[in-house]
Symmetry: C2
Subunit: 329 residues, 2 copies
C-alpha cells in the first residue's frame, strides 16, 4: 500500500506539504495541491485514518448497540442511523446485545478499546451500570439511563393515549393492554401509563398483561398468546398491543379461533415498521413511530455532543407519533 | 481515561511489564500479573486498540457493504455475520450502498482508510472496478467479482430447479419467472437458467420477465406487477418469483383481482427471510436460503484469509437450499 512518503516523492514535494494538503492546513499553491492530488490518485493512496484517529484523538466511529439486528424495528432504525452518520462522515460499528447483559458489557468495553467517539444505546437489558462508567458521549433510544445522558424517544405517552382513545371512540368498553416488559425502566412503559389513565378517565374496564417478548418470531408470540392471553380473551372487546408483531399474531390467533376482527375484537399495534408496511392482510391499525426522524435525532444528538466535546450537554428529544388507520379496528 | 502509565504506577511495575501482560508476551510471574490486572480494573483501563492496530497492522474490523440495511434479507444476514464475527473477536462496520456505485466507491475508500482487515461485499451495483483495486481480503455474497475473490452463495441453480419442478409436479403447464435484474452479473441469475432448462426438459411453455426491484416496499412491487406483469398474467398457471416480497405482492394482486391462488395460479417465492416466516396469510411456498449458514460461511472465509495473511487464497462456498411448502402452490 502506498505511503505518504511515496506520494511526496512522486509529486516532488516534502512530506509536510502532502500532510498540509491532506489536512487543508497552511498555505498551499493550487499547482502544488494539484500535483499532490494527482500523485495520490496515481498511487491509489489512502490516508491512514487509524494513525489520524490516534493523533487527533477522534476516530469518527460510532458504536450502536441494539438488542436484535434482524428485528424490523432495529434494522430500520440502523438503516437511518447509518445514513445520517454517513452524511456527517461518521461510520457505525453495530453490536447485537441479544438482551444479554454480559455480552453488552463486553461490547461496551470493546467500543471503548476501539476509541469510538460515542455510543448510541438501543438496548433493553436490565443492567445499565456499564453505561454509567463510560466517560464518552452516549445517547439512548427510548430509555433514561441517567439525568446526564441524553435520550431520543417517540412520544410514548401520546402513542398510548391515541391508541386507547381510538379503541374507546370505536365502541370498546373492556380493554386489554399487552405491554412491553415493565421490569425494565423503559420509556415505552409510558404507553401503559397513558392506557391506564385514559381508561380511568373514560370509566372503561381494563387490564394490563406484561409481554416480555422482543423476539420477532411468530411462534414465540403465538405461544405467549395461547398460554397467557387466550384464557381471558373473551373478556375484552379491544386490545392495545405494544408492538405490531404481537398485534399481528393476536389477529391471526383470534381469526383462527372464530373471533371476528374488528367486529368482535378490535386490535391496535405499535411501530409501523417495514413488516407492518409490507403486510397487507390485515392492514393493521397502529401507531407510527417515525424511525427516520428518530434515527436522525439519535445521530444529531450524539455527533453534536462529540463535536462540542462537551459530554455533559444533555438534550432530550421526543418525536411525535401518529395513528395509522387499518382494518383491525 | 486511564493510561498505561497510570496502570504501571498503581501496580508498581514498569510500562514494559504492563505491556507484556496485555500482549501475553515474555515471562510474567503470576503475582505480578495479578497486580497489573487489579490495577487495570481499579482504574477502569481499556487498552487503546487503535494504537495496537497501528502497531500490529491489524484492526480486527470487517467492513460489510449491503444494498439495503432495512431489507429483511440483509438485516438477517448482517445479524448472523455480526454474531460469527463477534465469536472470532472481530467487529463489523456496516455500509449501506443504496445501489449507488459512487456511494459504494466512497465506502470502499473509507474502509481502506480505516484499515479494515477485510470486506464482505453483498452489494448489487454494476460497478465492481473499485473492488478489483482493493489489495485486502474480500469475500462476496452471491456474486463473482473475479476469479481471485472468494464468494459464498446459496445454491441458486438448485433453488431455481426445485422451484420450477415443484410447479410442474403440481400441474402447471405455462410458467412465468420474474427474475432479479439480469444485467448485473449476479449468481442468482442461475435461478433463471435453471428455470429455463427445467421448463425446456419438460416441454413446458415459459417466459422470463426481468424485475429490477430490490426494494422491500409493497407499493414498488405492486406498481411493477400492475404495469408489467398484469397484462399477460392470464397466460400463466404458475409463477416463480426470485424473491418472497415479489411473490407476496403477486399473491395479493392476484387475489384482489379475482384470481384464485393456488387453484388458478400457483406462486413460489425465494428467500424465506424473517418477513416470510412472520407472515401467516398466506404461508408462502418458497425456497429457503439458510442465512445463518451463509453468514457464518462469509465470516469464516474472510477471517481465514485475514489470519492466513494470504489474500490469494480462493475458497468458494455454495450452501444448500430447500423447498418450503406453503399455501400458494
Amino acid at each position: 500500500m502506498a505511503s505518504i512518503k511515496d506520494v511526496a516523492e512522486l509529486a516532488g514535494v516534502s512530506i509536510t506539504t502532502v500532510s498540509r494538503v491532506l489536512n487543508s492546513r497552511g498555505y498551499i499553491g493550487s499547482e502544488t495541491r494539484q500535483k499532490v492530488e494527482k500523485a495520490m490518485e496515481q498511487l491509489d493512496y489512502h490516508p491512514n485514518q487509524i494513525a489520524r484517529a490516534l493523533l487527533k484523538n477522534q476516530s469518527y466511529l460510532i458504536g450502536v448497540i441494539v438488542p436484535d439486528l434482524s428485528h424490523p424495528l432495529f434494522s430500520e432504525l440502523i438503516n437511518w442511523i447509518e445514513a445520517y452518520a454517513n452524511e456527517r462522515n461518521y461510520k457505525i460499528l453495530v453490536c447485537n446485545s441479544l438482551q444479554d447483559s454480559d455480552k453488552e458489557a463486553n461490547y461496551i468495553s470493546m467500543l471503548r478499546q476501539n476509541r469510538v467517539d460515542g455510543i448510541i444505546m438501543c438496548s433493553h437489558s436490565l443492567e445499565i451500570e456499564s453505561y454509567l462508567k463510560v466517560s464518552m458521549p452516549i445517547v439512548s433510544f427510548d430509555r433514561i439511563i441517567s439525568s446526564s445522558i441524553s435520550y431520543v424517544a417517540g412520544d410514548n405517552y401520546k402513542g398510548g393515549e391515541i391508541a386507547t382513545k381510538h379503541l374507546i371512540e370505536n365502541g370498546c368498553r373492556n380493554l386489554l393492554h399487552i405491554s412491553g416488559p415493565l421490569k425494565y425502566d423503559l420509556l415505552p412503559n409510558r404507553r401503559s401509563d397513558a392506557f391506564q389513565l385514559t381508561c380511568m378517565k373514560n370509566n372503561i374496564q381494563f387490564s394490563i398483561i406484561e409481554g416480555a417478548h422482543i423476539k420477532a418470531a411468530f411462534q414465540d408470540n403465538w405461544d405467549f398468546i395461547e398460554q397467557v392471553i387466550s384464557p381471558q380473551l373473551e373478556n375484552y372487546d379491544g386490545v392495545f398491543c405494544s408492538n405490531d408483531i404481537m398485534a399481528y399474531t393476536l389477529y391471526v390467533y383470534a381469526t383462527r379461533n372464530g373471533i371476528k376482527v374488528p367486529e368482535q375484537l378490535k386490535i391496535i399495534g405499535y411501530d409501523y415498521h417495514s413488516f407492518t408496511r409490507l403486510m397487507q392482510h390485515p392492514k393493521l391499525t397502529t401507531v407510527r413511530q417515525p424511525l427516520d426522524r428518530i434515527g436522525k435525532a439519535l445521530c444529531s444528538a450524539l455527533i453534536d455532543q462529540i463535536e462540542n466535546k462537551n459530554p455533559d450537554f444533555v438534550n432530550n428529544t421526543v418525536i411525535d407519533v401518529e395513528l395509522i388507520r387499518g382494518d383491525t379496528t
